[in-house]
Amino acid sequence: MSIALQRTRSIANGRLGSLLLLLALCVVLIVVGQRVLSGGLSFFIQILVFGLANGAIYGLVALGYTMVYGIIELINFAHGDLVTLGAFIGLAFFPIFGLVEGKDLGIIGVAALAAVFLIAMVLTGGINVLIERVAYRPLRNSPRLAPLITAVGMSFVLQGIMYLWKGAFQIHVPDILPGTRLPLGPGASVGVKDLIVIAIAVVLVIGLNLFIDRTRLGKAMRATAQDRDAAQLMGIDINRTIAATFFIGAVLAASAGMIRGLYFNTVNFSDGYQLGLFAFTAAVFGGIGNIQGAALGGLFIGLVKAYGDAYFSSAWTDVYVFAILILVLVFRPSGLLGMRVPEK
């Protein structure tokens, strides 16, 4: 990997390299432009909304990656699986709260759905705190590779548990969100579902930002992320602060899992793994450790995926998303927003 990266870098630095890159970019732009024009504006907007809805989900997951990385410099490879876990937990509570397909939601239904969200979020958060306690905290002062490998292992453990729980099937998630579509023009429309997904994500991201900016615990989290020793000298219990970070990350992941389930009406035990890799790309794109960056990166990846799938082929999604990851790592490792102010 690193040899390949170095080679890419040396080609990219060369004159011929930049020329080739420019040429490739032009070709891509021309092809894209042609297809966009022939597709029509309303189709373009329809894909935009779909991309934003998808991106909102990536963004919620990317936030967890970036927060955990920010505070203990761990790339938590098990984070994506929390998305699926959240969806599975939520799904288990659907019948208990009377949420079944084909019934109009109504006010009671909305309240029930909110309750299920809350339960899934809190339980997943609790499980992640437990994971941190048993799997990562004992390794906090070990070389960085140790917790990283542990996280990969934890990802397999979570997937294994979910496989035992529900099997390898595509699990159906009741289609309870309104299916109404708002017309956009000839042959195009926007789903109310998409708008609901975007709205929930926006509310969660704004809430998170306010929490981190304004509250005592939020300030403690930022302080711990910047300088763990100094944070302790302020009287901040860093174990609790780190646990809180894992909790919040998992809460967002679980909400993403629920939203995604309600949106696509299906979930599989391994979904989170793939989603996690995309969300990780989003976090790196935005500048890992940067909250706003993760949200923006999520939207960007969502849009890239949506437009790519619409104008090219969904068979290539992995290729261009991970091509973005590689390009960011080569040309701008600190990401789009990076760290804005000098350290210490």
Binding site: A220, Q226, D227, A230, Q232, L233, V341, K344
Partner: protein, 236 residues
């Protein structure tokens, strides 16, 4: 019994012994200086007192309570405040946020506000710059903020690690007069300094550290006039 007492403290970094059985005390109202060359163990001593480093042997007691096993975070609540080596500000946060974090262990809003006013009185510069990101302050301002932040925890003892390091002579003077002022307001101070002359002038008592061992102690006055101290640390 003294406010802070260290008994036979031994601290290791991995397998390297940094402190070799240190015993020292700080009493109410005192300024106590810890001097010695680089690597003598001054910073390690402070880190051990604040709980960032755990001693392999020995005991630390503070305000009549053994705190050897107490976590660093809880020691702040007990009244041990520190301005660490290299200042260690939260460089991406504002001056005000740094001070607010300094009061993290407290819940008394009125008291916090009073101490904030007191810090701004001691360091009017900080008030002017309270909205500025602390990483963009000058070295002197950063040092003031580090001391102010430590004061915000309402410490019963204030530990200062190299407060004059890297500052222009005129700013060093300011910092030392402020140390005297803080002490005059009733807070005992444990001071680690490479500027031994200045430290001994301001200190009631002082300890001389050499490779993890206390080799000399006395009043600031005595050590100032001791020949080997003068030769080794005062460049005379």
């Amino acid at each position: 019994m003294a406010l802070l007492e260290l008994e036979g403290i031994e601290t290791y970094y991995g397998r390297v012994r940094a402190l070799n059985g240190i015993s020292l005390s700080v009493d109410t109202g005192e300024v106590v200086a810890l001097i010695g060359s680089n690597g003598a163990g001054k910073t390690t001593t402070l880190r051990t007192i604040s709980g960032l480093q755990h001693p392999a042997r020995g005991s630390i007691s503070f305000a009549g309570q053994v705190i050897t096993g107490v976590s660093a975070a809880r020691r702040v609540g007990l009244g041990i405040g520190q301005s660490p080596e290299g200042r260690r500000l939260f460089g991406r946060m504002s001056v005000l946020d740094n001070l607010v974090l300094g009061s993290y262990t407290r819940r008394d809003r009125a008291g916090i506000q009073r101490d904030m006013d007191r810090v701004f009185e001691l360091f009017p510069r900080l008030k002017e710059r309270s909205g500025q990101i602390s990483g963009t302050l000058s070295g002197g301002e950063q040092q003031m903020l580090a001391i102010g932040r430590a004061l915000m925890s309402q410490p019963k003892i204030l530990m200062l690690d190299e407060p004059s390091l890297g500052l222009a002579p005129i700013l060093q003077e300011t910092i030392f007069s402020i140390i005297a002022e803080i002490n005059g307001q009733g807070t005992p101070i444990l001071l680690v300094e490479q500027n031994a002359l200045k430290a001994l002038e301001v200190a009631d008592r002082a300890y001389v550290l050499e490779t993890g061992t206390i080799v000399k102690e006395g009043t600031g006055e005595e050590l100032l006039h001791s020949e080997d101290v003068a030769k080794a640390y005062l460049g005379m």
